[in-house]
């Protein structure tokens, strides 16, 4: 083999370089990162066991299930949020390491790169929800059969908001430790959005503010199959608007990042 003996047959890859092979390798790398695993899989489950499994929560009923089940859904949303955010925020680490620049020396199109990151974020989001629900099933959570499926799916799908959020922050904050900033931010947003404390138990002012924060919509929608309570349209609007805002932010930073100056 020499550079000159094989001149022809140079083709661009399909789908701008988007491939299952890349997703597989990236997943392998993610699992290797212990911090990501603890953050996204272990922590929500531990929170659930700490706050959701006391005797009164197990016995008190909500919809067709118990409060433990209600808290489980909230924690699953929290886990999915952490997972998708850290998935999106991977770009920040990769930019800091100069990896993004290295990728520009390959046929990978920037849009394909972002698509890979989003899919990765959604994959760990799904794993996070499944792990939380598995722990919940053995931890005394009671939900109607369809609610197990519906709540899990909704928690996962709506976590797309935070995949966009993670991407946006990943492009905004060029830092190796971006999740050390975003972890507390997500915790604050979870309190503000009624994920850790029900909105109904907040004062009027905070309850009103809560409805405009990005975690509110996801929580309301994910719990709806259990509670059948709350304004689903307002919640859906909340998710759509925040997804649009974070995606627009991510696109804006992404364009800046990939511009050839």
């Amino acid at each position: 083999m020499s550079a000159q003996s094989m001149p022809a047959a140079r083709n661009l890859p399909r789908f701008g370089g988007f491939s299952l092979g890349m997703i597989g390798l990236e997943l392998r790398r993610m699992v290797r990162n212990r911090r990501t695993v603890v953050f996204t899989l272990v922590m929500p489950a531990v929170f659930f066991l700490l706050f959701g499994t006391n005797a009164s929560a197990r016995t008190e009923r909500v919809g067709g299930g118990n409060v433990t089940g209600y808290i489980l859904i909230s924690m699953a949303v929290y886990g999915a949020m952490l997972a998708t955010t850290s998935g999106g925020a991977m770009v920040s680490i990769e930019r800091a390491a100069g990896w993004s620049r290295q990728l520009r020396l390959t046929p990978l199109r920037p849009a394909a790169y972002v698509a890979v990151k989003l899919i990765l974020a959604m994959i760990i989001g799904a794993v996070s929800v499944v792990v939380a629900f598995a722990v919940g099933a053995f931890g005394g959570a009671e939900l109607p059969a369809q609610a197990w499926v519906a709540c899990g799916l909704l928690a996962w799908v709506c976590a797309l908001v935070f995949a966009a959020f993670g991407l946006f922050m990943g492009y905004l904050l060029p830092s190796e430790n971006v999740m050390q900033i975003l972890g507390p931010v997500l915790a604050v947003l979870s309190f503000a959005g009624g994920l850790f404390v029900p909105v109904d138990s907040m004062g009027d002012t905070f309850a009103t503010i809560a409805k405009f924060t990005p975690v509110y919509g996801v929580g309301e929608i994910a719990r709806y199959p259990l509670t059948h309570h709350g304004n689903l349209w307002a919640a859906a609007l909340n998710v759509i608007v925040w997804t649009a805002l974070f995606s627009a932010g991510a696109m804006w930073r992404f364009r800046r990042d990939t511009a050839r100056v």
């Binding site: 140079r10 083709n11 890859p13 491939s19 092979g21 990896w99 520009r104 390959t106 046929p107």
Partner: protein, 315 residues
């Protein structure tokens, strides 16, 4: 002072040019990093891009790789816009630092590159082998030494089997042994006919490994030719001969002579065209015991950059 040689290499050949830079300018705000570089490189040449820090070497390389667009002028790699040439794997590069993820293994890093270029496992094994890191494939990148990481970058660059390989200060931070081994790999590889462009500030590397040396200073090409030509251009050469009763003024009048020194019966003539001086001495005078010495590239480099510094100071 602008010195230009016209080596045969830059005249238009019949084949397609590996690199064709035509009046390329790169400005960053008020700063002009590259100030009109025109450069033609034919397939198979091994070219050193030499110059002091801030001369515009890296800016030029970035434009060749499509990482940035010229403010004016055009850049073509194998007749294509650089970005297209990169995507097709016609050109690849070993960058100075960064560009690696610590939590991938060596093999995974190369495999990911292969996936992106649509290449198979056989190409991964070949690239690892050629870069001399087949034995550390399962090691995490974060646990590799600087030299091993540089070899990994080299393996990634080799993966698409590029026609043109660009190396930006490839041996920065390596010890002497590592540098030697790295260059042996590159040299081995270039034997297959690959075009190689490398930026370096190790002059001995340019002298030892390049067919052609391009001096860049303040965004311009100030000298271009073989290492020997550039040495001669930059500092001239010295003719030493034994010539009793030599006339200093007669020697100074010869074309291309810059200085004449007489020490007893020995004359030292410092000139651009030392061949002409030697021919004159041997045919027209009684000179004997003649010797032509060239300064090394290091001295040539110092001459060129010292001139730069003087201009800076004169401002």
């Amino acid at each position: 002072m602008t010195l230009t040689a016209q080596p045969e290499a830059v005249t238009r050949g019949s084949g397609e040019l590996a690199v064709d830079l035509d009046g390329v300018v790169k400005r960053f705000g008020a700063v002009t990093a590259v100030d009109g570089i025109s450069l033609r490189i034919r397939p198979g040449e091994v070219v050193a891009l030499l110059g002091p820090n801030g001369a515009g070497k890296t800016s030029t390389i970035d434009m060749l790789l499509g990482l940035s667009d010229p403010s004016a002028g055009t850049a073509r790699v194998y007749g294509r816009p650089p970005q297209e040439a990169v995507a097709l794997g016609l050109v690849s590069a070993v960058m100075q630092t960064g560009g690696l993820l610590k939590d991938y293994t060596v093999e995974e890093t190369v495999r990911l590159t292969a996936v992106l270029f649509g290449r198979g496992r056989a190409d991964v094994a070949r690239a690892l082998e050629r870069a001399g890191i087949a034995d550390i494939g399962s090691r995490l990148v974060g646990k590799c030494s600087g030299g091993q990481q540089q070899r990994l970058r080299f393996a990634m660059a080799l993966l698409p089997d590029p026609e043109l390989l660009i190396l930006d200060e490839p041996t920065t931070g390596m010890d002497v042994g590592g540098r030697h081994d790295f260059w042996s790999s590159i040299r081995e590889d270039a034997r297959g006919g690959r075009t190689v462009i490398f930026a370096t500030h190790y002059l001995e590397e340019a002298d030892a490994y390049a067919d052609r040396v391009v001096f860049v200073r303040r965004g311009r090409v100030v000298a271009d030719g073989t290492a020997a030509q550039v040495k001669a251009l930059a500092s001239g050469r010295t003719v030493r001969a034994t010539l009793p009763g030599a006339s200093e003024s007669a020697l100074l009048a010869l074309p291309g002579v810059e200085s004449v020194e007489l020490r007893g019966d020995t004359v030292y003539v410092h000139a651009r065209d030392t061949d002409g001086v030697a021919r004159h001495l041997l045919t027209e005078t009684a000179a004997r015991d003649l010797e032509i010495t060239s300064r090394n590239l290091e001295q040539a480099f110092l001459t060129l950059t010292a001139d730069d510094d003087n201009q800076e100071m004169a401002r």
